[in-house]
């Protein structure tokens, strides 16, 4: 076969294939954003290709935290009032079951493979380890008081947790399940975000209105950055080049440049922004507005709002709600 005919054959196959993937609904339907609606015991599923809700899934009582892992297949939702975690298949959008998890499940994270989930217990001051295949809690790790936000490394070997009422962050060795380091941060740390490329951990401090930046390996403080009023959660965009923080009391997000560690812009979003996650394109950031019952989609390159998606009553979306 001549080189030319190989190329022409390739084109003949590739062009329809490319068209198929561009326009086929299945190809469009990913990834999803899973938004917990605390006021109506449900999760709104947003198809980020069209930015609208394509399904609403009933979960446990007063859902708050959410985590997506295992290439988008595993979705964990914490239900503080029914004291369990709902497991959802992120592809079929079916509820697979629920797992009882102690007294006050709130923050949640899942490893990249989707094998293990971690659930912070607000009242019992522990992080619980869920074996997702077995669908049960297999270990409990004592951390600081009222743990909230969690982050897991890509290799699944380390877990970070913000302890709101201890004003600290703990680093858990996921193999030995021991706390190997902890560090005081600002007042009432809540949401956290891990940048493995720059080896940094960002921590939003609700009461001191700032973000603590720590070295991820040692938890050594790098700096503290003032943000808006009542910062809540953090997402990394542009491969960690931008750090975006929701400010609950001023209906804005602060955009931090990771190189200069300075706030470069403050963007308006809906009322009482809480959860925040980044689309895998690294550019679009989804902000969950608790009071407005909506999600604001931001373009973090052009620093502007693209659209607003209506969701359910009391949307929170605390955690990584879009598969990274």
């Amino acid at each position: 076969m001549s080189r030319f005919s190989l190329l022409s054959t390739l084109l003949k196959v590739a062009a329809p294939a490319a068209l198929f993937f561009c326009f086929h609904p299945l190809a469009l339907a990913k990834p999803y954003a899973f938004i917990t609606n605390q006021g109506e015991d449900s999760v709104s599923v947003i198809d980020t290709a069209v930015d609208r809700v394509v399904k609403t899934i009933k979960v446990g009582h007063k859902p708050s935290g959410v985590a997506v892992g295992g290439d988008g297949k595993i979705v964990l939702v914490t239900n503080p009032e029914s004291r369990d975690v709902t497991l959802i298949d992120g592809n079929t959008l079916q509820v697979l079951g629920s797992i009882p998890v102690g007294e006050g499940p709130l923050g949640v994270a899942v490893d990249r493979e989707g094998r293990r989930g971690y659930v912070a217990d607000w009242y019992q001051h522990v992080v619980r380890v869920i074996d997702i295949l077995k669908r049960r809690v297999v270990a409990t790790v004592r951390v600081g008081k009222s743990p909230a936000g969690l982050a897991v490394t890509r290799d699944g070997r380390r877990v970070y947790v913000a302890n709101r009422d201890s004003d600290s962050v703990s680093l858990i060795d996921a193999v030995t399940l021991k706390v190997v380091a902890s560090r005081k941060v600002g007042s009432h740390p809540f949401g956290i975000a891990l940048d493995e490329k720059r080896r940094r951990l960002y921590v939003a401090n609700v009461l001191s209105n700032d973000v603590t930046v720590l070295e991820a390996d040692t938890l050594k403080p790098i700096t503290t950055i003032k943000v808006g009023d009542r910062p809540y959660a953090i997402a990394l965009a542009r491969d960690g080049g931008r750090v975006v923080v929701t400010n609950q009391y001023e209906d804005t997000v602060s955009v931090i440049d990771a190189a200069s560690l300075r706030v470069i812009d403050t963007l308006d979003v809906g009322e009482y922004p809480e959860g925040i996650s980044t689309h895998p394109d690294g550019r679009r950031v989804y902000v969950v507005n608790w009071f407005s019952n909506s999600v604001t989609v931001l373009d973090i390159e052009r620093l502007k709002s693209l659209t607003t998606v209506p969701t359910g009553e009391g949307s929170r979306g605390f955690g990584i709600f879009i598969a990274p």
Binding site: S64, P80, E103, D229, Y249, D251, E271, F291
Partner: protein, 191 residues
């Protein structure tokens, strides 16, 4: 038997610790009123942070400090003898809105609950913040929306009825409603 009885306080403690499990979740209310007047005229009536003493029947006095910057305060005197200190969080005359939160309030009464004295605040809420916004509908119709977000006053589980979610929602809704209805009356009468 004696041994068992001596264990009872411990059992009670265990029960209480478990019972504390379900924490409160944040509540929200949105009360609105439609006024037959232009938006600018309605905004004129509420733009002063202390204007509430003129249009809210339950507010008898107001002292404003710090202008219109974030962190400015107003101290409300209430008809029932109580007081509330609000702190301005956002003031945006272009959008005809401001946002504030309660910093401090007087105690309406003290009750005993779960073996402890509990101060019931004059507005039975915790971490209350609010926004009031004027929205034009047409040239002579305006909607005013007054929203509140808060937790119930009792932050542990099993709240007394004076400090539960229903009490918080009822009291704040009534406060917003009474204010807005009187605002409507005053503006429409002066038209």
């Amino acid at each position: 038997m004696r041994r068992l009885i001596s264990l009872l306080p411990l059992l009670a403690l265990v029960w209480m610790t478990t019972a504390v499990a379900h924490g409160p979740s944040r509540q929200k209310i949105a009360v609105d009123v439609t006024i037959a007047a232009p938006a600018d005229k309605v905004w004129e009536a509420i733009e002063d942070f202390c204007s509430i003493e003129k249009w809210h029947p339950d507010v008898t006095g107001c002292v404003h400090e710090g202008g219109y910057k974030k962190g400015a305060t107003r101290r409300l005197t209430l008809a029932n003898g109580g007081w509330i200190v609000d702190e301005l969080k956002k003031y945006d005359p272009k959008k005809r809105m401001y946002k504030y939160r309660i910093d401090e309030m007087s105690t309406a009464k003290t009750i005993v609950w779960a073996g402890k004295e509990q101060a019931v605040p004059v507005l039975p809420v915790a971490n209350y913040s609010a926004v009031i916004e004027v929205k034009p509908i047409d040239d002579n119709t305006t909607r005013v929306v007054w929203k509140g977000a808060f937790y119930r006053a009792y932050m542990n589980n099993n709240p007394p009825e004076e400090m539960n979610e229903e009490a918080a929602i009822e009291a704040t809704t009534a406060f917003h409603r009474k204010g807005l209805e009187n605002l409507k009356k005053l503006i429409e009468q002066s038209q």
